[in-house]
């Protein structure tokens, strides 16, 4: 069964590259441009993993994460947080809120894809 990944990021160019890579890796990709949109999508369809940018308009990534973790049905969902802010405070905050991983931008695509694969229990898509 194909796994679903939701990309929540307001930078279109990042979305483009991630979408491409994920599709190449065989995942179905959903896209949300802001936090609100992300929550709406989550209501309709629960992905297996969400790539969550912290700096999202309307509803921030942290809030979305909290929502996800509060929701009983979505407990199984993996959350990888993305942020340009790499300070320890931010990282611990994210992890405390329940993110499974925290990746700082700019990232190496190899590392991000490897993290995605690990979270989903799949072999890495990029050598």
């Amino acid at each position: 069964m194909t796994k679903t990944v939701l990309i929540a990021d307001d930078e279109p160019n990042i979305v483009i590259s991630l979408e491409f890579l994920l599709q190449e890796a065989g995942y179905e990709v959903l896209v949300a441009r802001d936090g609100q949109e992300a929550l709406e999508i989550l209501n309709r369809r629960v992905p297996d993993l969400i790539l969550l940018d912290v700096m999202l308009p309307r509803v921030s990534g942290f809030d979305v994460c909290q929502h996800i973790r509060a929701h009983p049905d979505w407990r199984g969902m993996r959350v990888i947080m993305l942020s340009a802010k790499g300070r320890d405070a931010e990282v611990s905050k994210g992890l405390e809120l329940g993110a499974d991983a925290y990746v700082t931008k700019p990232f190496a695509i190899k590392d991000l894809m490897a993290e995605v694969a690990r979270q989903l229990g799949d072999p890495p898509s990029l050598p």
Binding site: D10, I16, S17, K85, K105
Partner: protein, 923 residues
């Protein structure tokens, strides 16, 4: 014949009794149970005024002048009326200031002047010597006469008697020894001699009784009462005129009354008994009528005895002076005669004792001690025990006085009747009146005034009274008196400046008082008082209105131990300890050890010592302990100066501390601001890094993807590459703008000033953005006035602003029908440029937001704004730097108009100074 032995025995017994009384009186005083605290005793002690002059001399004078003897007693009687005011004030002042003699009083009043005290002492001594001589004459004459009983003969006159045979000499020696024993057994802090007062009171009684006895005998035994006596006298030519008041009144009486009024106050013995020995001011009230009563009693029989004597001894062989003695003798009354002799002796000894004690105190305290203390060679100040020295000085003074009295008696005693001798002394002590009365009632009286007055008065007295006395006795050429010195008639001692017709005494009184009062008043009014003097003047004159006697301001340091040691040297450690303990108790301390050394202690010590050695010497001694720095006007001013400086300094300090507080508050605020700026900087940095990382992320992701997927299709490959290029551009733009903004904000940007044609500038901007506008199908309208103005400004920067505004407008124009209008308006002092679009508009909340760094609001072109968010902040910085303002007017759905103004006049500030902002270093 009355054996000399009997007389002598009687005399010694009497003197012994007196001594015993005095001893007992002193013992009771030491035990604290005074026997003289009694107004009757006080009044009786005042009667020491009546000496052998009263006893014998009055009768002698009455024999010549009739009632002319009275003025001497009228004076004091009149003075008694004033006693309640004058005497009480003197007593109060003396108690408060521990005054022990007239010299002390005058010296203390005029600034504790030792010179003045010495002068007064000299005048007193010289003046009283005739009086002492009078007593000696009376006692020796009466002794001689009585020795001849039952014959009534006069003793041989003149210097015919050899020295060692002269009764008077032995009497003088005897009296000296008696007085030494009597009055100088120990030093009294208060110079009070209670025993002496008791003895004097007894003497007053004895002499009164003796006189009365003789008088009663003569009047009621020899004759049949007053009526009989006067009746018989009126019939005789010799005695008749004496009963009339005829030529009695006049200048003579006036001057005698005045003299005696002053004498009752200023004779040293009177001052001693009425002021110094006074134990209670209230006694004065009784004395005011008791004393005149005594005077009356003792004078009742003067005239009767005179008349009787004249009638009994008509041939003038017998001196009228001796009637009181010779009458009883003539009538065979042995006992009465002896009693009268004892009475006369009593009167004389009373005077001598009190007078010499008073004078010796003055000599010791005000004449000898000041000289000795200042005589550095003796180093008296450092001697441990001075009691012995003081007593020795006093005893010596007493002996010297008696000897001087005797000398005067031998030299000039014979020439004058007794009364005249006494009046000479009266005139001498009258010289103290101006200085003393002036000192008590006139604050303006100065020391120099007193000095001059006293000196002049004394000089005139000596010239008009003493000199003639010596001349008439043959010690000076009589031509001095008759013709004046060097033959100058105007300067005749008995008729100065031609004032003849007055008796000697009146004449002398007039001139001496004139000189004295004149000198005193004139010099006082012309002169100035020192601080100490002024303080003393106030203390004396205002003694009834002041309840305290605070010391004048002083600076110094003292130790209580040193003070006590000093006092002990004079009064003995027992008395000193008592006094200090009393002082401590008064202050509420439990013992003398707790006493605080301050100005009050110094004052107390001075007063304590003044009782023993006089005020001026006390000052010297205390000053030596206290290391006082005497204050002159300069020093007081300095102290005031210091005080005001200290005040000013403390004001300054207050002010400084206030300023310090303000500065601290400012510093705290600045620190808070800095911390906030720090936070803002941190935020800024994190924001900046975030902004930079975003395009970097795209670039990296795209690049890596291209690398990882070589099999990517061409279209996608081209897309990715173009994204990389665009994002790189974006990144570059971002970095450039951030640097630009940083430079603008910090003032490190370059500014070039030139003439700018606004119209041409706008056209330039339009053509630069033409492609963008064409791409987005935006129509542009430019609305320029006919003659756009020229500006001095930075062209490139203005272009930057215009481009920014136009591109913003372009971003926000709708996809179709986007319209941009550029307007230029010229106003009096500024020119305004407007850039309007017909986009979605900006709501009020965002209008402030858009001018913040990195902040953008949504536009219609893309979901996410592609700008850097720095354009408007930069534009605003530029416009404000050029002296204008940049703002937006907009409403949602109604488009937006960005306007900025520029001043038409070239700004004096930044715009015209190209490198103004470059330097930031403080030098």
């Amino acid at each position: 014949m009355l054996l000399g032995g009997v007389i002598l025995l009687a005399s010694f017994v009497y003197l012994g009794i007196l001594f015993a009384i005095a001893y007992y009186g002193d013992k009771r005083a030491d035990a604290g149970r005074s026997i003289i605290a009694n107004p009757v005793i006080y009044s009786l002690s005042l009667a020491v005024y009546a000496t052998s002059w009263t006893f014998y001399g009055s009768i002698g004078r009455a024999a010549v002048n009739g009632v002319g003897f009275l003025p001497i007693y009228l004076g004091p009687t009149l003075m008694c009326a004033l006693w309640w005011v004058v005497l009480r004030k003197m007593i109060r002042i003396s108690k408060v200031h521990r005054i022990t003699s007239i010299a002390d009083f005058i010296a203390a009043r005029y600034g504790k002047s030792a010179l003045l005290g010495g002068l007064v002492t000299v005048i007193a001594v010289v003046g009283i010597i005739p009086y002492i001589a009078l007593q000696l004459k009376a006692v020796s004459a009466s002794f001689e006469i009585l020795l001849q009983y039952p014959e009534v003969v006069m003793p041989p006159k003149g210097r015919a008697v050899a020295l060692w045979r002269d009764t008077a000499l032995y009497i003088a020696l005897l009296l000296a020894a008696f007085t030494v024993l009597f009055g100088t057994r120990h030093l009294e802090a208060t110079e009070r001699h209670e025993g002496m007062v008791a003895a004097i009171a007894v003497e007053s009684i004895v002499k009164l009784l003796a006189f009365l006895a003789a008088g009663i005998f003569v009047t009621f035994v020899v004759y049949d009462g007053f009526g009989d006596l006067f009746g018989r006298a009126a019939q005789l030519e010799r005695t008749a005129p004496l009963m009339k008041f005829g030529d009695a009144a006049g200048a003579s009486w006036t001057s005698l009354v005045l003299l005696s009024m002053m004498a009752i106050l200023f004779l040293p013995r009177q001052f001693q008994v009425s002021v110094v020995e006074n134990v209670n001011e209230g006694h004065v009230a009784k004395a005011i009528w008791l004393f005149p009563a005594y005077m009356l009693a003792i004078n009742i029989f003067v005239l009767p005895i005179t008349l009787a004597g004249l009638m009994h001894f008509p041939d003038g062989r017998i001196d009228a002076d001796t009637f009181l003695l010779t009458l009883p003798m003539a009538h065979g009354q042995e006992a009465l005669a002896l009693f009268v002799f004892i009475g006369g002796l009593s009167a004389a000894t009373g005077m001598v004792i009190v007078e010499t004690i008073a004078l010796s105190t003055m000599i010791c305290n005000d004449l000898v001690m000041p000289v000795l203390l200042r005589w550095r060679a003796l180093a008296l100040v450092r001697r441990a025990d001075l009691t012995g020295l003081l007593l020795t000085i006093r005893r010596g003074a007493i002996v010297v006085l008696m000897m001087l009295g005797y000398a005067y008696y031998r030299v000039a005693g014979e020439a004058y009747a007794l009364v005249s001798l006494g009046l000479v002394s009266f005139a001498a002590v009258a010289q103290f009146a101006p200085a003393m009365l002036g000192g008590m009632y006139w604050k303006q009286g100065t020391r120099n005034g007193a000095l001059v007055g006293l000196t002049l008065g004394f000089a005139v007295w000596g010239y008009t009274l003493l000199l003639p006395a010596l001349a008439k006795s043959g010690w000076l050429p009589i031509s001095l008196v008759d013709d004046g010195p060097l033959g100058i008639e105007r300067l005749k001692p008995l008729a100065l400046f031609g004032l003849a017709g007055l008796d000697d005494i009146s004449h002398a009184l007039f001139w001496s008082m004139l000189a004295n009062v004149g000198g005193y008043v004139a010099v006082s009014m012309l002169g100035r008082q020192g601080i100490g003097e002024r303080a003393q003047a106030q203390l004396f004159v205002d003694v009834f209105t002041r309840s305290d006697h605070a010391a004048r301001p002083w600076r110094g340091s003292a130790s209580v131990q040193e003070m006590m040691a000093l006092i002990a040297r004079f009064l003995g450690s027992a008395r000193a300890g008592e006094a200090f303990a009393g002082y401590a108790r008064q202050r509420g301390w439990t013992s003398a050890a707790e006493i605080q050394p301050d100005a009050e202690l110094v004052c107390f010590s001075e007063n304590l010592l003044a009782g023993a050695i006089g005020a001026s010497s006390a000052r010297v001694m205390v000053a030596s302990v206290v290391k006082e720095e005497p204050l002159g006007m300069d020093e007081v001013l300095n102290i005031l100066d210091e005080a005001s400086q200290v005040l000013a300094y403390s004001h300054q300090l207050e002010q400084k501390s206030r300023e310090l507080e303000a500065a601290t508050a400012e510093l705290r605020a600045a620190n808070a601001r800095l911390q906030e700026l720090d936070r803002m900087k941190d935020d800024f940095i994190s924001t900046v890094s975030h902004e930079l990382r975003t395009p970097l992320t795209s670039i990296r992701a795209m690049s890596e993807t291209l690398q990882a997927k070589p099999g990517m299709d061409e279209a996608r490959r081209r897309q990715f590459i173009s994204i990389i290029v665009k994002e790189s551009e974006r990144l570059t733009r971002l970095i450039n703008q951030m640097l630009d903004l940083a430079r603008l904000e910090s003032g490190g940007a370059d500014w070039h000033s030139a003439e700018v044609d606004l119209g041409e500038l706008i056209e330039d901007a339009v053509s630069t953005t033409a492609a963008l506008l064409r791409e987005n199908a935006i129509t542009l309208t430019v609305d320029l006035p006919p003659h756009p103005p020229m500006l001095r400004s930075d062209r490139d920067r203005l272009l930057q602003v215009l481009l920014n505004l136009i591109s913003n407008a372009a971003k926000f124009c709708p996809r179709d029908g986007g319209r941009i209008t550029i307007g230029l308006h010229v106003r009096p002092d500024v020119v305004q440029v407007d850039v309007s679009d017909n986009g979605v508009g900006i709501d009020a909340a965002d209008q402030a937001l858009i001018f913040e760094k990195f902040r953008q609001v949504g536009d219609t072109l893309t979901g996410k704004p592609q700008g850097t968010g720095l354009g408007l902040p930069i534009s605003r910085q530029i416009v404000e730097h050029l002296g204008g303002k940049l703002w937006v007017v907009s409403a949602p759905g109604r488009g937006a108009t960005f306007s900025f103004t520029l001043p038409l006049e070239a700004q004096a500030g930044p715009a015209s100074v190209p490198a103004a902002h470059k330097t930031t270093s403080p030098s």
